[in-house]
Each structure stands twice: as C-alpha cells, then as structure tokens.
Symmetry: C2
Subunit: 453 residues, 2 copies
C-alpha cells in the first residue's frame, strides 16, 4: 500500500481562532509612528482607512482572536486547504528529505490572498462601508479582494502596478468578472499618480506608488476605506489560518518540520504559515526549527536592506513602520514575480529576523522558473512565479539532504497556482527572460530619502 500523499481536514475543522504572535514575542514590536508628528499612532489616526475591528487587531496582544462565523462560512468554499507530501518530487530529486507542501491554489482566485480579503471585507461591511480601494502587484491581491467584495456586496477599486497590468491582463479580467474596477497605476485619478506620470509618463509603477494612490482616494471619501493585502499585523493574523491548519495536518502525518520555506513580498502568506510554528521556537519547544524567507535577488529587502523606519508607500502617506527597507521610492526591476516587488517587509517578519528567529535568502528569477518547471513535471502543479522562489530553495535544501544523507522534513508554503501567469513561463521557455542584478546604486539613492525619526 502506498503512503498517503494528501492530508485533508474536514470543513468542521477550520480553525475557530487566528493566532496572534504579538502575545508571544520575546521583545515587543517597535511602535508605528505618525508620518507627520513621528509620534506613535493611535486608533483615531487609522480610522479614515480601516474599520475599528481591524485597527484593534493590529495592536491586540490577545493570543487567539476569534474568526467570525460569517468569515468561516466563506472560508468553507475552499478551506481547509490540502497538505501534500511531494513524493514524486522527492523521487525525481532522489533525496532522503521528506517534502510537504501546503497548497493555497484551490481558492477561487488561486492564491492565499482571500484568507485576509474575506475577513477585511467582512469587517468593513459590518461598519457600513460601501467601497474599498486597494493596490495590487501581480494581481493576486486585487483579484482576491474583488472576490471578497462580491461575497459581501462591496464595491472594489484596484490600482494595479502598471507593469503587471500590462503583463498580466488576465488578472484584471478576473477582477472584472467579480465586479470590481481595475486601473493601471500610476493613474491620473490621484495627486500621487499624476505627479509620477509628469515625472515619467512610462513609469512601470510600484506597489509603493499604487498604495499611495489607493490610500489617497480612500481618505478623500467618507463611504470608502482602504485595504492592504500584506505587511500589516492584522493581515498576517488572518493568514495564520494557513499555519494552524498545516500544524494539524503535519500532526496527521506524524511529523514536525525541520525547515519551513516560503516566498515573501510583503510577507503575509509565509508569515501566516510560520508564525504558529515560530511560537514553538520562541517557547523553547522546537529550538532547532529553521524558517527561510525567500525573496527576489533584484528586490532583496531582508538580505540587503537596513532596518529603519520607512513609509509603506511611495508618496509617504502611510504611517512609518520599522522594517527592513530598500527605500520607499525604490522602483524594483520588472521581474515576473510582481507580488514580490515591494521595497519593505511586514514589521513582524523584520522583528523576528532582527531577533535571529528566522532566516532569509535571495534568488534570481531564471533559477526560480527552472525550479517551477521541475515541480510541475513531478508534482503536476504549475506554480505562481512568486511561489517558484520558495520551490527553488526547497529543491536546493532537499538536494543538500541528498549530499549529507539527512532525512530532513521540509514544509513548503505553496501560495498559489500559475495558470494566470503563463506569459511569464512563455518568456522563460522561449529564452526571453533575464535576471536583474541588484540595483545597488538606485537603492542607495532611495535610502538617502529615509525619513528622519
């Protein structure tokens, strides 16, 4: 009899609470600062952008936060997601490592993003909000929020980073199918967008700039809030459903990971996977657990950036977050993993990285596509370009095990499928894709503009 390859939870086993790492940090997080006063922000400062429930979650130190019944009800459409044993990949690599992956690609938009989109739409709906603006990189977040908007009857407007808007038209159409409006950023609809277009009419855009535009519009209208798909504490909180399910499923498999691997753009998907495990490292139960954050070599926030206060957006409208950063006006090269093109990183991840609890690694895109194709030919699944960064490192770690003969247990956070990203694969397969060197001079220039705190 073959070993089990899928570890499946019943819909009744969807976690009832999200896990909040703020309850268990060995040192408290640095405060979030007001962009003008440079003093710690209070709830009132954030009220124009977010519903009060999310603002509370952002600063809560309760360990467990209940998932509303209405949110769990929508989660049931695709959750719990499956944990797989990658037996065929192990065999193809001829490695003694045991590779597991948690697959978020079966959600309606095909990624982990709706885990928080649905929660955010719910809390906004409950507060009487009619419209939500947001930004999107590769389009995964924008399509997820559009789906969530359709679930709750909320109008969604998405500013999509221009380079992805043109590279990935299918994601825009997905948003429209769910009833949302999507426009390329920089746009003419905001001051921030117009300023950039004046400077550079062919500007490829960046997540930072798209955030500026979405925030600006939300602040200017009473019926409109803003929603962020990553970075913030409450977003990571919602994503912990991935790690909580995975923990149960790894128990079903009778194993605990030696190494957890995932990709990071803003960091929410991967933090959502590992925070419930890092808890065990903090409390001393699993001191040897390794966590590897995988980022693009062309946008190497954790591996090259300084740890400093910076804005979350290009125009400097957001509060100041203490994070590893490449500078808020850094414009990353147009790699296909659009979801990883962000100058900053979730403050929780940065804090854990600073404390030495997690590691980071930067990868060039050609190697990541090669890994994605190896994965597709063994495990069947065609992965998002973002996920391929994590697959690259997973394969490399499994091959290290082959050298050393160690049978390590690797847990891969698989954030989504790549069926909407086939243009990127086409570019790779036809030899048109290239690697981008780390734009050191550009970053240096951006870092000169870090706010004085």
């Amino acid at each position: 009899m073959e070993e089990r390859v899928k570890f499946v939870l019943d819909e009744k086993e969807i976690p009832t609470h999200w896990y909040n790492i703020l309850a268990d940090l060995p040192e408290p997080m640095p405060p979030v600062l007001h962009p003008a006063t440079k003093k710690p922000v209070g709830p009132a400062d954030l009220a124009p952008l977010f519903p009060m429930e999310l603002i509370k979650q952002e600063v809560s130190t309760e360990r467990w936060i209940e998932i509303p019944e209405e949110v769990r009800d929508i989660y049931k459409m695709w959750r719990p997601t499956i944990l797989y044993r990658a037996k065929r990949l192990e065999k193809a690599l001829d490695t003694p490592a045991k590779v597991y992956f948690k697959y978020e690609g079966t959600s309606p938009p095909g990624s982990h993003k709706p885990n928080t989109a649905v929660a955010q739409a719910y809390y906004n709906k409950k507060e009487g909000i009619k419209r939500i603006t947001t930004e999107t990189g590769a389009g995964q977040w924008g399509s997820a929020l559009s789906f969530a908007g359709a679930c709750f009857g909320i109008e969604i407007k998405v500013y999509m980073v221009a380079v992805s808007y043109h590279q990935k038209p299918y994601r825009r159409v997905m948003m429209e199918v769910w009833g949302a409006k999507c426009i390329p950023s920089p746009s003419n609809e905001t001051k921030s967008g117009r300023a950039m277009l004046k400077k550079d009419p062919d500007c490829p855009g960046s997540l930072g700039l798209a955030i500026s535009e979405a925030v600006e519009e939300a602040v200017s209208r009473d019926d409109t809030h803003y929603s962020l798909g990553s970075v913030l504490n409450h977003v990571l909180l919602h994503q912990t459903i991935i790690g909580l399910e995975s923990k149960k499923q790894m128990e079903m498999a009778g194993v605990y990971p030696d190494i957890i691997i995932g990709c990071i753009g803003g960091g929410s998907n991967f933090a959502g996977m590992y925070l419930p495990f890092v808890k065990d490292k903090i409390d001393g139960t699993k001191p040897d657990l390794r966590v590897i954050n995988c980022e693009p070599a062309s946008c190497p926030t954790l591996t090259k950036g300084p740890y400093a206060y910076d804005y979350g957006d290009e125009a400097g409208l957001t509060p100041l977050l203490k994070m590893y950063t490449l500078g808020h006006d850094f414009m990353p090269p147009p790699v296909h993993a659009g979801g990883l093109r962000y100058h900053g990183m979730a403050p929780i991840i940065c804090h854990l990285y600073k404390l030495g609890l997690v590691e980071a690694r930067a990868e060039h895109q050609l190697g990541t596509f090669k890994a994605g194709i190896d994965f597709a030919r063994s495990e069947g699944i065609i992965s998002a370009p973002e996920t391929n960064h994590a697959i690259r490192v997973t394969i490399d770690e499994a091959l290290k095990c082959k050298e050393t003969g160690e049978s390590k247990t690797i847990l891969l956070a698989h954030s989504g499928h790549g069926h909407v990203d086939m243009a990127a694969y086409e570019a790779y397969l036809s030899g048109k894709l290239k690697d981008y060197e780390y734009p050191e001079a550009m970053v240096k220039k951006s870092l000169e503009k870090l706010p004085q705190v």
Copy 2:
C-alpha cells in the same frame, strides 16, 4: 450551525474500478465500421493507434474494470475531487432547488481531462510506446495529456486547433511547461494539414481536422501511438470516476439528483458523470431521473444532427462511428468554448439519446457567459467557457423551480476552471463577443458528404 457545503472523500476512497455502461445497455451499440471495408473493425485494425488494453476496454462488456494501482496513485494528486452544495448560488437565485456541483477544476491542468489522459499514458507506457500524438480544441485535452506524459516519461505532440492556438496561447505554454510539443492545426507536417492549407491558408481549424493530423502521424511511426481525449468508449469509461465519486458524495449529502446537467463536446466529461446514474434509470430504480446534455447553439450536434455513420475526423481516416453528426468536414463557428466545437458525439451518448434515456439542449454563448459570471459572483469559481453552457442550463432549471415552487435536486458536472480562458471573459465583458447562428446551409453541405454505409 450552517449546513455542510463540501462533501469530501478520503484518498483511500478513490474508486477501484471504472463503470462500463456496455454491460447494462437495454440494446447493444451499433458496431464501429472500418473506413474502407465498411465492415465491423477488429482489434488488429486499431493496433497501430492504441495499446491493446485500451482496445479491449473499447469493446468490453465487463461491468467493472479495475483501475491500475499506478493510475490510482497519480489520481491521488487531486482526486477524489470535491462535491459542493451551491448554497450561495441558490440564495442569489432565491430558488427552492438544491444545487450540487462536482468540481474537476482542481486537477493540475484544471479540468476533468487527466482522468483519462493518465490512464491512456499508463497503458501506452506499459506497451513500450515512446511517443503519443493527439489533437486539442480549447487546449484542455492537450494540456492534460502533456501532464500525463510528464508523469510517465512519454513524449507528447499536440495538434491544436488553430483558432484556439491563437486565442488561448496560455494553454500551449502549459503543455510546454509539462514538456510537450504543441503546433497549430492545420499544419504543414501532415498530408491532411497541407491539403487544407492549400485550400484555405487562413483556415481556423477544427477538432476533426486536428484528429486527422494526429492520426496520420501516429500511423506513420512505429514508436508512436495516438490518443483521443473524448468520444470513444474507453475514454468515457475512465471518466466514470467522476460519477462514481459523485454518487458516494450525494449519498453523504443524503440526496439523489432529479436532474443531472453538464456540457458536451465529445461528451466524455458529462457521460463520465452520468453513466453511473443512468444505470439506475435503465434498471428501473430511478425512472424519473433527467439528464440534460448542453451543447453550443452554433454546433448543435444532438439537437440538430442526424443519427448516422460518420468519420471521427475531417479527412476520413478514423473508423466510422454511428453518432449524431453535423458532417465530418463541418467547420464550427469560432465560439470560445473550443472544447465543444466538434461535429460528432460520443456513440454511447448518441445511443442513449436515441433510446430516449437522456435529453439535449443548445445554448448561445452570450447567455452562457452571463451565467458564468453569476456563478463566479456567488460561488467564487470562474468556470471554463465550456462549463458555462451547463451553468446556464442549471440556473434556468433552478429558476423554473422558483416558478413552480419545486425543490428539485440538481447535480451539475463542473468540468473545470476558466483561469486560462480570461481572454474570452474579457471579450464578453467588453461587448466584443457575439452569438453565432446555427450555420444550417454549411451543415447541409457537410451532411451531403456522409459516407455511404
């Protein structure tokens, strides 16, 4: 407590046998005839194209045929698939109908097609075959066989209907990711292709012609077989895994369908769903069961075609099958549901239709996209254009229940997601999509060329 919305089987519950309707037909099927002699074909006639195991399955009257362990092992990568209760769609329609759908979109290529692709690749591998040629319409079959080829290390060459090759480049790239070669049909690589290009250099192609090309190449090489993704008895046999799982899952839900609805191109997906249920109609257990085959109004094989012997392909290379047909050289209008653009229909379906055991309905594409969007905004899932035909009829039947107040149980065969078909949705949303009238004169001309038997 909310009612359950997902009915999930464990991977150990994957059926061990396919169901063969040939054991239970009230009247035997008409024989398949040799294209030259017009006499019934024997196994030797088919040996250049198919492995002997598949030829045996094609004519077997055993009720249950065992699924090889190696095939079930690969099925486990995504099977059993989930049966959903479409509670949110029911609510949006305000209907007393209970709508269930079996979702095949979580397979690696995103459709039902690998159910047979994996089995066919397995039997070819076992017979020592190194290469398989095939044709594909929308690309779902080609990508599924490419995936199956990657599973067993078999080289795959796909002739893709030219109009889809250009409309759906992403499907081609998927094939290439799995290591297959894909070229547009008509091509210059075969006699049939060259003949057509000479007649019409801009020919959009058809499934019938692509079959001719793939068959021609397979016959010309000893190491190469041919694989068909629909129509034939053994293909429908492999797809019965859908219906067998669904039956168990409907039992879990405590219901039996009043109406089963699905889309038909060659018919394998939908027959795979309903054959295990039609068994209950034939044996008198469920005399009132209704089965609705949904086809495009522009290619209305069952609803408009005569029941006659015809070739499966455009050039007349295949054996003669007794089926409803629009004529083997009929070139259907370029609707986006490329997988439904076929002149003929699975002989088993035609036989059941002739016997009055199943019904048929033809739908125009604009209405089907409207239904697909309604489904996406309630159930989240963005469906393939083919599947939208079945969703249209499902919604119409649910709305009839609303009128009559009947609480019927509807089972929808959901054949796959539409993430690779967003260009079709874009055309629809931007008003560029149109309906095509039934090309009656063209069909009449094609039917004049029906072979004399």
